[in-house]
């Protein structure tokens, strides 16, 4: 057999098997020992002896691992393995034991993965979504699944440590510890008296009052019990506190763990999303695309993306060539528009503030009107979250940023609006509870909080969060039923120009993700006061998954503009961390600053360690941020080094040929 010599610039077919020291002609198989070469090959040979050395050093992976990772056909790999097995004269029992152990470990791992994938929730559905609608939409549903699991595990935590002991001890009839305090501050009887009309139950269900208020749902129900039986003593208040704190820490760890891989990759890529043409061309094809329609769609996506990037590049070149006066006009326009958008956001905040005050004042009303007043803050928040981003989009058109910057700016504004509007609601509640901060005046003089309006302020805050969660869910369903389905009916059945221009709904990922983050933040803020809220949220998110899936497949057309799935997942998790931070701040502030309501107080003097805990988590975060920046710098250094090596090689070859 002969080998064609590799002539430079030759059009001969490149034999990839040569690089692995194996001729594609099977008859040439010979036992090769050491460096002695018979053929005139000048490429490094596959080192037969290396697996044994590696095994002595590492003691983990045997030859099968190396073989799997060799890009050769199966027949060649089999031949190599046979040669290796023939070449093994003396193998110490320790080596063979290690190899056997590695093999059985891998078999165990494979069967374990198979077992786990059986349990993986909704994996077939997610695959279908990804194949039909792309990675961006799939990342939303993956995020939703993560939140479902997080909420469910949190609920199990709370149930195990607080709910179940409470139920057990309450049914056993454990004795109450005498609580000290002023007489008037102890009055708390939310049970409705007399005959209750039937539809009141429904109203109570929606607003968390009446029969729902004095139940396991809210803080007020958990007695200040300390059970001491013959052998066991269980301090429920302490358990409640520890569970709440541990819940936050657990969520933080989960989110950071999930950010781990995504963060590493984002740091390693380093370069911006625009202009990474080789990345787009080499990596963007999705081989899981099934069917002609999905393929054509993906091709259209890629075409669009390439065109947009090329266009952005030429825009940048043009922008750099602007004259000075044009630049001044553009920048002043942008600054003005920034102020306008801030003005809109502040107007929304003021609206929420006014609505919350009004709602608290009118909180005694009965019937449907009373329900409307109860839900007024939620309504205003939702309206603000809907209207302000629309206006901001119009503003962005005037600002004329490049397309990618526009998306980022819009997202940041929406995040700001959503999370801080929640903060405004909480701020107004706090003002009402503590008589505007002056805790020793007026109605707050007796108990250091407004005990007339709020006999148990913790339950009240829990009720607000409960209402927010429920309302958010109902609005989602309503939009689905009243907007998306009719829109599809109109577009499909009415073939005039207007309908075609409006077109089918597009599944907008950022807006939906922000909705999820908002919902989760509400749950975190309310978890301390409404322990069953994670369970309610789990059910809400599960139902949301199915509803969104239905609307995706029936009503939506796939989006033209693509969305980078891994960097966007990282961004979703960062925004989720902001929400967690807000929840933590609320919890710490309410535990340490506002005096707990006397009747239902569970925490007397056990909140001193929350501040050190918060400081510790800040330190840990700073450490990780520092680590990430160090890695980023070393990646940049190494990349520069590769460039320099390339230039050296060029220089040397140029020098050698001259």
């Amino acid at each position: 057999m002969s080998i064609e010599p590799q002539r430079p610039g030759s059009r001969e077919v490149h034999d990839y098997t040569e690089e692995y020291g194996y001729h594609s002609d099977q008859q040439s198989l010979r036992l090769r020992r050491g460096p002695s070469r018979v053929s005139n090959q000048n490429q490094p040979q596959f080192d037969w002896s290396s697996p044994h050395e590696e095994e002595d050093e590492e003691g983990s992976s045997g030859p099968p691992r190396d073989l799997r990772a060799t890009p050769l056909p199966i027949a060649l790999k089999r031949a190599i393995r046979q040669v290796q097995q023939m070449q093994v004269p003396v193998v110490s029992s320790r080596d063979s034991w290690k190899r056997k152990k590695a093999k059985s470990l891998r078999k165990l791992k494979d069967s374990g993965m198979g077992f786990l994938s059986f349990f993986s929730l909704w994996s077939k559905t997610l695959q279908k979504i990804g194949g039909n609608f792309g990675g961006g939409v799939q990342s939303y549903f993956l995020f939703l699944r993560f939140l479902v699991v997080l909420n469910f595990v949190s609920f199990l935590l709370i149930a195990g440590f607080v709910l179940v002991p409470s139920i057990v001890f309450r049914s056993v009839g454990a004795a109450l510890v005498n609580s000290t305090g002023q007489g008037a501050c102890l009055v708390y009887d939310p049970n409705p008296e007399g005959l209750v009309v039937f539809y009141n139950y429904f109203l109570d269900l929606l607003s968390g009052t009446g029969f729902m208020e004095y139940s396991y749902l809210f803080y007020g129900y958990y007695n200040n019990t300390m059970v001491e039986d013959k052998n066991i003593s269980y301090n429920i208040p302490l358990a409640y506190l520890f569970t709440a704190v541990f819940y936050f820490v657990f969520c933080l760890i989960c989110i950071i763990a999930r950010m781990g891989t995504a963060a590493r990759v984002v740091v390693a890529t380093g370069s911006s999303t625009v202009g990474d043409y080789s990345m787009i061309v080499f990596t963007s094809w999705d081989y899981g695309c099934l069917g002609d329609r999905a393929t054509k769609l993906k091709q259209k996506n890629i075409h669009y993306r390439l065109q947009v990037d090329l266009e952005e590049e030429s825009i940048k070149k043009r922008a750099a060539a602007l004259t000075l006066s044009q630049k001044i006009v553009l920048y002043s326009l942008r600054v003005f528009m920034c102020f306008v958008s801030f003005g809109l956001i502040i107007a929304a905040f003021y609206g929420i503030f006014a609505a919350t005050e009004f709602s608290q004042v009118k909180s005694g009303q009965e019937g449907i009107l009373g329900l409307f007043f109860e839900y007024l803050p939620s309504i205003v928040i939702t309206a603000g979250n809907f209207v302000v981003p629309l206006l901001c989009d119009q503003i962005a058109l005037i600002e004329r940023y490049s397309p990618s910057t526009t998306v980022i700016v819009a997202l940041l504004r929406a995040v700001f609006l959503r999370l801080v509007s929640l903060g405004v609601l909480l701020f107004t509640l706090w003002r009402q509870i503590t008589c505007e901060g002056a805790e020793n005046t007026g109605e707050c003089k007796l108990c250091q909080y407004n005990h007339l309006l709020y006999p148990c302020w913790e339950t009240r805050v829990g009720q607000e969060m409960y209402k927010l969660t429920l309302f958010d869910f109902l609005i989602n369903i309503a939009v689905l039923v009243l907007v998306e389905f009719p829109r599809r009916m109109v577009v499909d059945n009415w073939s005039n120009k207007l309908a075609q221009w409006v077109g089918r709904q597009e599944f907008v990922v950022p807006a939906n993700v922000l909705g999820l983050v908002y919902g989760q933040t509400v749950v975190w803020t309310g978890a301390l006061f409404c322990p069953l809220l994670p369970l309610i949220n789990t059910l809400k998110f599960i139902l949301l998954f199915y509803f969104k899936k239905i609307t995706l497949f029936h009503n939506c057309r796939p989006a033209l503009k693509t969305f980078r799935s891994t960097t966007s997942t990282f961004f979703f998790l960062v925004v989720l961390l902001f929400g967690l931070g807000l929840g933590t701040v609320v919890m710490i502030y309410s535990l340490s600053e506002i005096r707990p309501s006397m009747r239902v107080s569970l925490f007397i003097g056990s909140q001193s360690f929350s501040i050190p805990l918060f400081a510790l988590s800040c330190v840990v975060m700073c450490y990780f941020v520092a680590l990430a920046s160090v890695y980023g710098k070393s990646v940049a250094l190494l990349r520069n080094q590769i460039k320099l090596e390339g230039r050296d090689k060029q220089f040397l070859t140029a020098g050698a040929s001259s």
């Binding site: 990839y16 199966i74 089999r78 393995r81 198979g114 890529t269 899981g288 091709q299 075409h303 980078r564």
Partner: protein, 189 residues
């Protein structure tokens, strides 16, 4: 040394598990799908090579723009006609499986994109690659100026030693920066 009748032997199965990245269920499913492609006579013969046209009727490959290149790369046929035996088919699925390493995937991706099989990606290969990605019809292609600009940008970004082509290690360097590649270079039956 090959697979014959409708049942896959236990020792063959464990051998395939060791030589590829596929799990037992995946290998059995692949065997089932492969035998569905065989005619009645072919089912009894050992090591039958299924011609490319029949392989391309598989729904997972039918609309893939790289289907012909994939068959050519994994085929061990002497006539370079893209026909696949069962073991070639397993090689294909192993490279496209969930657990295959980045090195394997990037190696095979490079070979798939190397349209003229000369070991490097030059301008012609890149142009064919981009046309596959955007669609072959006239209204889906990029304009010649856009194509020229794009290829220049690609070479500027990835051709580190400035020889006008992208070789395997430069390609693997670009791929290693992509977070989505491993999850998108996947074909699951």
């Amino acid at each position: 040394m090959g697979t014959t009748a409708s049942q896959l032997g236990k020792d063959m199965l464990s051998e395939y598990q060791e030589l590829t990245f596929l799990t037992k269920q995946e290998i059995l499913l692949a065997h089932k799908r492969f035998t569905e492609l065989l005619t009645k006579d072919e089912k009894d013969l050992p090591n039958t090579r299924v011609p490319m046209e029949r392989i391309l009727t598989l729904p997972e490959l039918k609309s893939n723009p790289f289907r012909k290149r994939i068959c050519n790369v994994f085929s061990t046929s002497e006539y370079k006609d893209g026909g696949l035996t069962f073991e070639d088919f397993l090689d294909l699925l192993s490279a496209f499986s969930d657990s295959a390493t980045l090195e394997i995937k990037s190696h095979y991706a490079f070979r798939i994109f190397d349209f003229d099989d000369d070991g490097t990606l030059d301008c012609r290969d890149l142009e064919k690659l981009v046309n596959c990605l955007t669609g072959e019809t006239d209204d889906t292609r990029l304009t010649p100026e856009e194509m020229r600009q794009l290829i220049n940008n690609i070479l500027e970004e990835s051709d580190i030693d400035k020889d006008g082509t992208v070789n395997l290690s430069e390609f693997q360097h670009v791929i290693s920066r992509s977070p989505d590649f491993v999850s998108s270079f996947k074909i699951v039956l």
